[in-house]
Symmetry: C2
Subunit: 142 residues, 2 copies
Amino acid sequence: MNHQCDYEALLKAVNLRITDNRLQVLQVIGKNHYPLSATDIHHKLECDSTINRVTVYRILELLVGNGLIERLSTGGRAFYYGLTLNHNHRSHAHFYCKKCGQMECLTPESLTADTSQLGKIFPGRIEKVEIRVDGICKNCLP
Amino acid sequence: MNHQCDYEALLKAVNLRITDNRLQVLQVIGKNHYPLSATDIHHKLECDSTINRVTVYRILELLVGNGLIERLSTGGRAFYYGLTLNHNHRSHAHFYCKKCGQMECLTPESLTADTSQLGKIFPGRIEKVEIRVDGICKNCLP
DNA sequence: AAGTTTTATGTTATATTGTTGCATTAAATG
DNA sequence: CATTTAATGCAACAATATAACATAAAACTT
């Protein structure tokens, strides 16, 4: 979503060391306009580097834990990852095509949730609200 | 959610044969007041029957396919299953506690989504909208 | 700068969840 | 009752993620 990010700065901001692998993972996620799975990311990186699959998982976990990326669940079995919302990346829902497995970002306007009541009445700690639309994307429609 | 269901009638209504295993799976899901994973369901059934793990998965798939139950994704790795919405079971969001892994149904009022725009502008086929709140439930709060 | 500690990465093994293929049992149909 | 079809069980497999331990790289200490 956010093509011009300074990924070094992002890492620095949360006190993480800057390594090649971390930058590459962030870059792949950042320049993609929809969320990717760990396998997607690993495949993209394998083209020009030799990063290990497990390292990808570890970096993803680290970045999620530090709030730089977010982990989305899908109608399928894998998690997908996208850059965390920021000033030029507002909260939005996602569409998951159960045929091709691709995630798509929906515009913030197309689907909005009113969470104002929830915060008042729910007794636990709320960390995030995930809205996902499942179906068949236009490319996979018969 | 819906304790007094006639599960035989539900199966009949969608032209599925009535078997003991199917009834038991439906009963477990139906009498539970929050969605359960396949493993949860299997464990509950193993107490007084000997149903196979794979059979549980197959029945769940069948029931989802026929619209009797719905499959929810969580912040974790397993799918959870609950009875499909009906007249006394309105559409609602779910809360997932990432500590104990339990799902909770939220009241329909506490969180509502406006999907009116989406249907108009989205070019693919929309099958469902899933809203999940992740966090820590009150029992797991420190 | 050399040695020590800490952190990041790689490698292999394992866990979890779900699915497939095939044999067997049970039910429905003729 | 014989034949076909459907349901279940069992064993193997597949996909995704994590854990345990070894090694490499970086940071820190003297």
